[in-house]
């Protein structure tokens, strides 16, 4: 599983390349937590462009990372979500804690203001 990390100051932009399910979530969780511990970002933006499938295991991963970041006053956002994954996020009420932005530019501007 390839995960790309990019920074805009202290905003960590995470790009996952592949499906997020129970099988892949352990590796995803480990890699992102390592990055968070190492680089200490304030906020996190999930770029979901290359995630073709996600089930509720992925919701667990997103909420878990949100908790890590929110503990230190950071924010979490998401962009480029496929319609099916958007439906899953809506069912789970994820947008109450992770803001969904129409594009990267707006997400960066909005999260960095906080």
């Amino acid at each position: 599983m390839k995960i790309d990390f990019e920074y805009m100051d202290r905003l960590l932009i995470t790009k996952i390349n592949g499906d997020i399910d129970h099988h892949s979530c352990e590796e995803i969780r480990a890699k992102i937590d390592k990055e968070i511990i190492l680089k200490n970002p304030k906020s996190i933006l999930w770029d979901m462009e290359h995630v073709g499938f996600m089930d509720s295991s992925g919701i667990g991963v997103l909420i878990g990372r949100y908790k890590l970041i929110a503990n230190y006053g950071g924010k979490a956002g998401m962009i480029n979500i496929k319609p099916q994954i958007m439906r899953l996020c809506e069912i789970c009420g994820l947008q109450k804690i992770i803001c969904i932005y129409p594009n990267k530019k707006q997400a960066i501007a909005s999260i960095k203001e906080c």
Binding site: D21, H22, S56, Q84, I91, C92
Partner: protein, 142 residues
Amino acid sequence: MKIDNEMKLEFVSKSQNESFARSVVAAFVAQLDPTIEELADVKTAVSEAVTNAIIHGYADRAGTVVIVSRIIGITVEIEVRDSGTGIPDIELARQPLYTSKPELERSGMGFTVMETFMDKVEIESHPGEGTIVHMTKTIKTA
């Protein structure tokens, strides 16, 4: 009801098989010419049921997960069976956000997702014997 087509898939309860299982069921359902959304609904529901069988049914031990899928007219029936620990309280397990394994960072939304994405979800479970999740969905575009 006349069964138009039927398939059975049996695999070891390894998490590597989750994507394999949902892809096989999706390929089987594809003969009803579903929309991309309907197909993704089925894939997600199967993924949830198979994940439950692996995490909760068998916990850390190896077991066999069986999927039986039937096509009856424009409706697809999917049964996901395990012979694991079973669910002591099905009503509780169906509650949104309920998880018996909070330490695993589970969302507790598995059954809610299945219920939302499929037309009907029935759970049959006996402690010590296993669980059968029976789901149906009518492919409206078929």
